[in-house]
Symmetry: D2
Subunit: 242 residues, 4 copies
């Protein structure tokens, strides 16, 4: 798998295939033989840089069937739950697999990510996306997480569900001592219900927050925050088994 970048900076994900664009075509074997940093030319003489995609490049270009959680929010989840190499993560639901890929990249070969998804079409896309990147430590379970989390001694249970409270009791049994539950929810009403249920099942260190990202435009005519921005994605709620 390669990414090739055209002269305008646009990136294309290439998997064992010929490349066609308005800048011309590149043969499959030329792409396969290329190494990172090489420059490939189309039959029209236009240049493309070759890159091995990292997890962000890949997620940007892979197939999606639903909206994905933004890097800002995944980053804050990572930092607030001390996620690291070798850890065990359970997530629900999988969606297109972006978060699972992201977590899989961090926990690495000695860690593992299990992701529950109730919709078969999402589970299939996610499995294809995960296999496409070659992560072997991420498993998609086409299964309703409300029927219970089988994994034990887990470091992080991450919930991106309309009713995360349905899984709180099960998460409490699944998490190791010191482990974290983290939930992503668009609506404040979800946060309120979740807090009640988290307290009921003995979670500690409850915290809810929003991460607001402001991009800064640095241009010749001047510097300023961008005119349009994402105003809200979701509230992040954290709790811990102590």
């Amino acid at each position: 798998m390669r990414i090739i970048i055209d002269e305008r900076g646009k990136k294309y994900l290439i998997k064992n295939e010929e490349f066609h664009s308005d800048f011309g075509f590149i043969k499959k074997e030329d792409i396969e033989k290329s190494k990172e940093g090489d420059v490939l030319k189309t039959h029209m003489g236009r240049e493309f840089k070759v890159l091995k995609p990292n997890i962000n490049d890949y997620i940007d270009l892979m197939e999606r069937k639903c909206s994905i959680i933004l890097p800002k929010d995944i980053g804050v989840v990572t930092a607030y739950t001390a996620l690291g190499s070798g850890q065990r993560v359970v997530e629900a639901g999988t969606g297109s697999g972006a978060t699972a890929l992201y977590f899989g990249n961090i926990v690495g070969k000695n860690g593992e990510v299990t992701s529950y998804e109730i919709r078969e079409d999402f589970a299939q896309i996610a499995e294809k996306n995960i296999a496409g990147f070659g992560l072997e430590n991420v498993q998609v379970k086409f299964q309703d997480v409300k029927d219970g989390i089988q994994e034990r001694d887990v470091d992080l249970v991450f919930l991106d569900l309309p009713k995360p409270w349905d899984v709180v009791e099960s998460a409490a049994q699944s998490l190791k001592i010191g482990g974290y539950l983290a939930a992503y929810n668009p609506y404040i009403e979800q946060v309120l219900t979740l807090h009640k249920v988290l307290k009921k099942f003995g979670f500690s260190d409850l915290k809810s927050l929003e991460c607001i990202l402001r991009e800064i435009e640095v241009k010749n005519k001047g510097t300023r925050p961008k005119t349009r921005m994402v105003g809200h994605t979701g509230y992040l709620t954290f709790a811990r088994i102590l």
Copy 2:
């Protein structure tokens, strides 16, 4: 090393020592024998939960000689640079070692973090903090990073320096293709100079942003963002060698 938590939720970091507080004392050997989840009693009968500290617990309680970068910003750096298990990171300066510890936790045993620090007192504290947590993949170099980065094929160069532009040329040589430079700077003037120098040395995909974190108070009397918040920490600037 253990963390013990009192009945109010307050955490204490314990390293081979007796514990004393206004709730009474606990003997060194009792702490050493304890397992995660155990409950220890002081001579006054007060209970303390035992926990193995994760990287966040440890950073909160370790010795500091200067202010540290907040988790929100470290999280966004992690997410925007696709940081993961097995990667190689260079950082400057080390400060108290919090960022180095955080990166070390993510890159794991198969990765490595090298952190440059020009001040001997900071380098010593950081080394003590890193050794204290037992991370063997993090190395502190008591060395001026402006004299050059020795490491090659690096995934991320992270700069928390007053003049990060002094290191841009050296970072360009140190980074592998596709690798990231990330910089943390409080002042907008720093961002402007950095952008100019990044462009001069051929970096791509320049992006600057701010991460604003709003904590939400969920209480019986009602729900609201907290009255006081951190208004600004630093701008984050990202660039890539392509």
Copy 3:
């Protein structure tokens, strides 16, 4: 009434009295005779500039018994309700009178502000504050606004009450066609209840928002948003009788 400003920029409100500070004293008659822009000297030779206070100077320095609504929020209320000279405003509760003063300054001699306050101590302070500034178009009613608003043909009903919904029906009768109800509430739960009741009593154009103010530090060492900021004051809700 005068404001005098010391060499550090600190302001003092003076009402028919001698002035004493660590910079020395100034005689009552010297202050009374002074005109805006004059410089007065203390017996120690320190200089004080004389100023006629505007409504903001006065509110900053007047006596307060409770926290007041910040200018950012009052400004947004003014702008969103098209408040102007000659209009009629009803407010509840009065508190220390800051908002009443602010509205009184805008509606002017041809307009009027009636402010309901249930606590006698607040009503007294507010009356004193309003008389002190010399606004004759602002009236404080020591009366429970839940017993009904007597005023009719009102342009704006502004509610800073724990349960603003108790007054919605009464406000609907009080407002002229096209008039606005505006409410200031710290908690999101208050906003939700208020919306339900506003709809029930036929209000249109419902809108809720937050105004977040970021101060920018412009210093020699660099420019940046301030480190600490007010994270939240209150939600502003607007509705209209159409």
Copy 4:
């Protein structure tokens, strides 16, 4: 002049003319005879509410040749400069006249607004807009404000110009003691230059800030800040002649 509102809440500004829409037409004389609160029917039987427009209704529907300053920013200017009935305001440039209308509404019959505009097409539109609303206290000067502000004893000089520093010296002479200069600027570089020049010409109490407005969506499925928001309009800078 009337506003008529259709069954969906959409507003139309009507000036001595027949009304046509996909809901049918209403005769000119029916609109002219109508009073606020009346319901007019089209020949198709669809109902329209009649309203006398306030300044916000009018600005929303009047002709514009350029982008206008948002109410959030005008509101903060009003609040931070203690603007009120009877005051004298100078502004530059006029643009479509929205700010001039807004200030004119606040200062009322006993106050006055003078607005400088260097572009003839903008000055003409603004004059038409101001006459259309019937404000007699607002005057547009088709004149380069850099040639000097003629007005004296002014309470507020408001600058929405690319280079507001060109007018600082002139503003200092125009303002009364205690008066304010306020400037609206999209770029941070403009703020820095303005601060330098304001200090040079003896202004006090310099302050720069940003007003960020977050709209809250209150819907049946839940409550949340809106997904998309305005990320930045302009920095507001305030200074005072003391």
